[in-house]
């Protein structure tokens, strides 16, 4: 069985008709998948890695068109008729996607959705299909499967939904499972569980897996063979071990070197305390209203104390819903909170809006989403100098422009960019603009809320280096909020681990990473930086 090629892609081209003309997303690539092996297709956003597999499955958007050959056991999937194609899709080749939250139909129960492809492809009766669905839910280790058959997707967590997706994909015992960034949208501990589940199922069922991913960690731990893609072309391919040990192409080398490195040393003991929170508490009201009773209270941040010194970077890590962003915002008084917050010698917890305003220039914030956080109708120059209008109203427009030039140079952008609009820039450039907007005010404390999470690894590394340089040049203090432990480790000298609004553990970075005390921290660390291989070559 092993070794036999079951899927081969020859000279595949994918074109999209767009308003700007025809865009070629995949430019004549060749690849193959053998029975039972694990292949990774690696690349950054826009490399064409997803479109390659979407084309193979005839799932391209309506303006897309694929040419070439996608040969599955002697059938060219690209020219197969709809009903013939549907005998392969979901039966011999199945697929799971990046977005577990939206990939299931919200209007039908899990059981209904699981049974549908089983009945379609195998012609089982309702009762047989139900028994089969139950078996599949047990296979993907969903607790209480009997009850879950009657659940709707919105009643389940992201990790559980991805398990259901896997169950659906495996329902008809496929030859090939295509996994398109299957864990990217999940928290790291859940990521590890899903990956382990996939490895285990592969051992049990023997299907080939194609991983489409940007995450080299996954490739290293899972793949037998790797294809590296860039700009719609395969630039390098080979056995995973060899490729990691001895990359040939410059792009592969760059990708491998893009893992964030370096460590931050702690500030001197004598460094003054800049920002301090004591027993900070944030509560959200949920529901409530006329005739429906009192609202529920959700304590998003539960009596947390933080002390940020000059030149210090505190990394706040935790999974989604842990309250880490809320804490960052509460400390800047962007959210109402209980408890004491001091900035220098000023008590922020009693300051009203007017008193806060002059302090805002020293307390800046950079957001995760470099696409949503810049106004699309303002030029870059207007965006970054807007704060100066408030905080230094006496500046002439000429002086403001000079400051804009300085700020752009400082974040590594050409000053010519200041008359252009945000949509003309890439994600990494936009994040630089967002940083320039904060830096132009010469702040003392910057809260960085997942500043690198939306970026490709290679761009991430540049932003990390920029943030480091700015910190050294201006004695900045950072509150670095992230779920990405590799980046946090490279950036911070002190770590706070949060879960459900509470601090689980805190301490100097090397202590937390080197010798975590709490069970939750250990799981988190194991999931993020453990390098053990899940699977050896078949």
């Amino acid at each position: 069985m092993a070794g036999e090629t079951i899927l081969s892609v020859k000279d595949l081209r994918v074109r999209f008709r767009t308003l700007d003309g025809v865009v070629e997303a995949v430019k004549g690539i060749n690849l193959h998948v053998d029975a039972g092996e694990t292949v990774a297709v690696v690349g950054e956003s826009g490399s064409g890695k997803s479109q390659t597999m979407m084309a193979a499955m005839s799932l391209l958007a309506s303006n897309g068109e694929a040419t070439g050959v996608v040969d599955y056991r002697g059938k060219n999937l690209l020219t197969l008729g709809k009903s013939e194609l549907n005998k392969v899709r979901g039966r011999k080749i199945s697929m799971i996607f990046q977005e577990p939250m939206t990939s299931l139909d919200p209007l039908y129960t899990i059981g209904n959705q699981l049974m549908e492809p089983i009945r379609k492809h195998r012609g089982l009766s309702g009762a047989e299909a139900r028994a089969e669905a139950l078996r599949l839910l047990e296979l993907v280790k969903i607790p209480d499967p009997e009850r879950r058959l009657k659940s709707y997707p919105h009643e389940m967590s992201g990790g559980q939904r991805q398990r259901v997706m896997i169950a659906m994909a495996l329902a008809n015992d496929p030859d090939i499972l295509i996994a398109d960034e299957p864990t990217t949208a999940l928290d790291v501990t859940i990521q590890a569980q899903i990956l382990m589940l996939l490895a285990e199922l592969q051992r049990k069922l023997g299907m080939a897996i194609v991983f489409i991913t940007h995450d080299l960690g996954i490739v290293r731990r899972f793949a037998d063979r790797v294809y590296v893609m860039r700009y719609g072309e395969v630039v390098e391919e080979g056995k995973a071990d060899e490729l990691f040990a001895n990359p040939q192409h410059d792009y592969t080398k760059m990708l491998l070197a893009a893992e964030p490195t370096g460590r931050k040393s702690a500030p001197a003991d004598t460094a003054p305390i800049l920002l301090e929170g004591r027993n900070v508490e944030v509560e959200f009201k949920i529901g409530g209203g006329f005739l429906s009773g009192p609202p529920m209270l959700l304590r998003a941040v539960d009596r947390i104390s933080v002390t940020l010194k000059q030149c210090q970077t505190i990394g706040i890590v935790g999974e989604s819903g842990s309250g880490k962003s809320t804490l960052g915002r509460a400390l800047l008084r962007l959210l109402p909170s209980q408890g004491m917050i001091r900035f220098g010698d000023k008590d922020l917890s009693k300051a009203d809006r007017a008193e806060m305003r002059p302090l805002r220039r020293e307390l800046q914030l950079v957001f995760q989403d470099p696409f949503g956080s810049l106004s699309p109708r303002m030029t870059v120059g207007q965006i970054i100098t807007e704060g100066l209008l408030v905080h230094e109203p006496s500046l002439s427009s000429k002086e403001r422009d000079k400051r804009a030039v300085e700020a752009l140079l400082e974040v590594g952008l050409s000053p010519d960019t200041r008359n252009r609009y945000p949509h003309e820039f890439s994600g990494g450039q936009r994040q630089r603009i967002a940083i320039a907007r904060a830096m132009i005010l010469k702040p003392k404390v910057v809260v960085l809320d997942e500043p690198t999470s939306a970026l490709d690894r290679s761009v991430q590394k540049q932003i990390v280096e920029l943030l480091r340089k700015l910190q050294a040049d201006h004695d900045l203090s950072y509150l670095f909020i992230s779920h990405d432990l590799a980046v946090v480790r490279a950036m911070s000298d002190y770590i706070i681990v949060m879960k459900q609004g509470k601090i689980v553990e805190e301490g100097p970075t090397e202590e937390i990473f080197g010798a975590p005390r709490e069970a939750y921290t250990k799981t988190l660390m194991a999931a993020a930086i453990d390098e053990t291989k899940f699977r050896l070559s078949a």
Binding site: L59, F97, T102, S103, D105, P106, L107, H121, M168, L291
Partner: protein
Amino acid sequence: MFLYVFRRLLTAIPTMFVIVTLAFFLIRVAPGGPFNQERGLSPEIKANLEAQFGLNDPIWLQYVNYLNNLLHGNFGPSYNLPDFTVTELFANGLPISVQLGLSALVLALAVGTVLGIVAALNQNKLGDYSVIALATAGSTIPTFVIAPVIQLLFGLTWKLLPIGGWGDGAWINKIGPILTLSLPQIAIVARLMRGSMIESLRSNHIRTARALGLSDWSVVVKHALRGAVLPIVSYSGPAAAALLTGSIIVETIFAIPGIGRYFVDAALNRDYTLVMGTVVVIAMFTIAFNLIVDILYAFFDPRVRYD
């Protein structure tokens, strides 16, 4: 669910109260009264009439009396159609308007939904463009143009349909008015349906369904359509309330004895009780249909739960 419906009905009471109060005083703020006609009545007769209908009482007493009557299901006499009480007028006219409105609504939902789906499945192709053209025409040509054109073509030229009249409810008399009422609604429903169906077809769970090798029928009907009808459900609530309470234009042009004419006629004539009656009926229909829509919503979308 039961508790939710009960709560909604409970909140309808203050809503109705506010609407009735506002309407009662607003119509009385307008100059003139029910017996100030152009011909003019002699002062004695006018005084007599006003005394008989209690129009000389202080306004707060009139208000209290009206509310009291309303609570006992009594809308009062019509001032301008003295042979009838308001209740009788509605008893005669409302079934006619409801019949026409309901038929038009059902027709609009059926045809509009199908057209919308056809357009969405043929996005940016001929089928799509035809539906869009039809929908644009349907929503831009006013009913007071469509109705006479239908009378002219079907009634006068081809002699297929009667030109107007109710004909004691003969089905042939209903075709013209129903068509006129439904055409603009077909246009709106088709456009809404097209938009939401296109969005639905683009969603991730449709990609999943295709990747699982499900048939086109299952992908489109079972998975895309059910989510896509939700905006139509929302729209049909207020649309039903408007259609079922009659249209002055259609009822006037086709000489239909429905209640659509009453609102405008009554307001112009300062027929206080009839104005109030119309307001109450329209408000009740609106509240009822919005409630029905919300219940239907929970039926279509399991994420919506009322508890």
